[in-house]
């Protein structure tokens, strides 16, 4: 069913212009469809173009050519302001380095996307507390990032990503800076969100081990999709 496709990339080409006439083609016509509620991983060595692909999926960058429909909306035609609103409402980012706002407590960090969406103070505080409870960080909501461990920071970041009930979570090496035990906890949290809340998750990683846990593994090499298969360790 067409309605079930949330990310629809077709013939995505991305070129960078280095110097005068040296153009560098990073992505050579990517076709990728992600269904609603799917847990997909994109794997590839560094330089494979997976970061560029993630930036395009997250609409942080625009393709040189090709089409991208996000939840049925043609994002290539949207202007800067519309793109900001789409990012705000439809995408939740989780970064390798957490990127929590310094000197701002966990609660305020989680409120941030809701603030940009224009949600009232009372409503967003209530929802932020609820989300912090979901990631088991409610007791630390008054703490600033420098008072939290890596795993705690990442849990706050995940709560923040869920603020406006996004269609997808885009996680870029979310466990890359964590020890394996803490990384395990974060992965479990993603599985829980995917299973219980039906949230679509796109995981960008270079770790094959983590990728095996996901529903579908997309392998990228030199700017092309070279393979797609089911994750062997994906638990239904």
């Amino acid at each position: 069913m067409e309605n079930d496709v949330i990310i629809d990339l077709s013939q995505i080409v991305k070129k960078f212009y280095v110097g005068k006439e040296n153009e560098l083609e990073i992505l050579h016509g990517i076709d990728l469809k992600v269904r609603r509620g799917e847990f997909v991983s994109i794997v590839g060595a560094s330089g494979s173009g997976k970061s560029t692909l993630m930036n395009i999926i997250g609409i942080l960058d625009r393709p040189t050519s090709g089409n991208y429909l996000l939840d049925g909306v043609d994002v290539c035609k949207a202007n800067d302001k519309e793109v900001s609103h789409i990012r705000n409402k439809k995408i939740g980012f989780v970064f390798q380095t957490y990127n929590l706002i310094a000197r701002t407590n966990a609660l305020k960090n989680v409120e941030l996307p809701m603030m940009y969406a224009g949600v009232s103070k009372r409503e967003r505080t209530a929802r932020a507390k609820e989300l912090l409870r979901l990631v088991d960080m409610e007791e630390r909501m008054d703490h600033t990032p420098d008072e939290l461990s890596g795993g705690q920071k990442q849990r706050v970041a995940i709560a923040r990503a869920l603020g406006n009930d996004p269609s997808i979570i885009l996680a870029d090496e979310p466990t890359g800076a964590l020890d394996s035990k803490t990384g395990r906890m974060i992965m479990d949290l993603f599985h829980k969100l995917n299973r219980e809340k039906g949230i679509t998750i796109v995981l960008i990683t270079h770790s094959n081990e983590l990728a095996e846990e996901t529903q579908r593994i997309v392998t990228l090499k030199d700017g092309e999709i070279v393979g797609e298969r089911k994750g062997e360790a994906y638990a239904v």
Binding site: L60, N88, N99, G118
Partner: protein, 416 residues
């Protein structure tokens, strides 16, 4: 945008708190600039109202003529023939009668004391030929002014100040009317009957012990002339120009008239004059100069301060590149990023402005106290100064904020 305002202010305050020293140094320029401008406004307002008071109490049309040396020379002494005679004054009055309201002649008898038991009051006894030049009607608290018949007869009547009434008659002006007082001047006693009480004009800043304050006791001119024989010659006299007469022009013409007719043969002395108008103008020019200098210091300081704010905003934005990238990824529009940093610049400038305002008031009070009159600051001045510092925040915060707003989110997120 409104729902972000408080968050932005909160974030700005948190940033300022986290970098206290840096924020303070950044504010310093704005602070000094606003302080200088507030101080000068206070001093300027104070001086202007002081001059206005002075002009009102003395009369803006007042011109004083006085005998002065042609060339400064210590060895030449003033003789009676160098002074202004009653005859000269009469001729001036005749020549310019269409423009002169009245001529005021005063001769001082000297400082003296009025004593009654333990009560006493210090006075300066002054003979004057005119009452209308000295007081407005509303300055007479009790009784009346000295009448012209009393002037002609040389009656022993006096007008005393409310201060004297306070010391001698326990404050009720009506009680003093008709009372006789003995005034001791240079070991001589003179007896006068009080006919009127006037309100003395004193500067509150100057008041030390009010009991010992010397006030003027006015008597008819003839009364003084009876004691001081050569008082028919004076070294100066005042005139009041009629309403609508250009006192500057009149002063010049009378001076020329006197010098041509009475002093052309006098090798050492001549007549010169000054007018209240010129005095006020000169004072205003001086105030203007001070205003320009202080205002210039303030303006330069504000400019430097503003550039400092701009500089620190650029530093702060560079340091927070990743934060800006993150905010953009979370859905912040260029507009909300711009607003966040403009708000931060406004908060820095406004805090600087508020501290500067406080410092300016202290500085302004110190200056005006030292000069000896009260400085004033209107609520409009305060509002204008705060709005001005906010405008500075917008002006110098716009460029850095715009730079932040236009950052590419990918580059910003990747920034180390």
């Amino acid at each position: 945008m409104k729902h972000m305002l408080f968050e932005n202010i909160g974030a700005a305050l948190a940033g300022i708190k986290a970098n206290k020293m840096r924020s303070f140094l950044t504010m310093l320029g704005i602070l000094i600039g606003i302080a200088a401008i507030i101080a000068i406004i206070m001093a300027g307002n104070g001086m202007s109202s002081y001059i206005e008071d002075m002009m009102n109490s003395i009369g803006a049309n007042r011109i004083e003529f006085y005998v002065t040396q042609r060339n400064w020379d210590d060895t030449v002494s003033q003789k009676e023939s160098d002074l202004i005679s009653q005859d000269m004054i009469r001729k001036v009055n005749e020549e310019f009668k269409n423009e002169i309201q009245d001529i005021s002649l005063t001769t001082a008898l000297g400082e003296g004391i009025v004593k009654e038991g333990k009560d006493y009051a210090k006075v300066n006894v002054l003979g004057s030929n005119s009452s209308s030049m000295i007081w407005d009607e509303d300055e007479i608290l009790a009784g009346r002014v000295i009448l012209s018949s009393e002037q002609q007869n040389g009656a022993n009547v006096a007008m005393v100040s409310d201060k004297l009434v306070n010391n001698m008659f326990h404050g009720n002006p009506e009680d003093a009317i008709g009372q006789e007082i003995d005034v001791q001047v240079n070991n001589q006693y003179y007896t006068y009957t009080i006919v009127g009480v006037y309100q003395s004009y004193t500067n509150q800043q100057m008041t030390g012990s009010s009991y010992d304050e010397v006030t003027t006791l006015y008597v008819p001119l003839k009364v003084v002339h009876r004691v001081i024989s050569n008082a028919v010659y004076v070294s100066w006299f005042d005139i009041n120009g009629k309403e609508g007469v250009d006192s500057h022009d009149l002063a010049n013409r009378i001076t020329d008239y006197m010098n041509e007719n009475f002093y052309s043969k006098n090798a050492n002395f001549m007549i010169d004059r000054y007018t209240m108008q010129e005095q006020a103008q000169m004072a205003n020019e001086q105030i203007g100069m001070i205003k320009i200098v202080m205002g210039g210091i303030g303006a330069i300081s504000l400019l430097v301060g503003g550039i400092g704010v701009m500089n620190i905003m650029i530093v702060s934005i560079t340091e927070r590149t990743r934060e800006i990238g993150t905010r953009k990824a979370l859905g912040a529009t260029n507009g909300s990023i711009r607003m966040q940093f403009i708000t931060e610049a406004i908060v820095i400038c406004l805090i600087g402005g508020i501290i500067g305002l406080g410092l300016g008031v202290l500085l302004g009070s110190a200056i005006t106290n030292a000069i000896g009159f009260p400085g004033t600051l209107t609520i409009n001045n305060i509002i204008a100064c705060l709005l001005f510092s906010m405008a500075f925040g917008v002006f110098f915060g716009y460029y850095p904020a715009n730079r932040a707003a236009k950052m590419n989110p990918i580059d910003a997120l990747r920034y180390e």
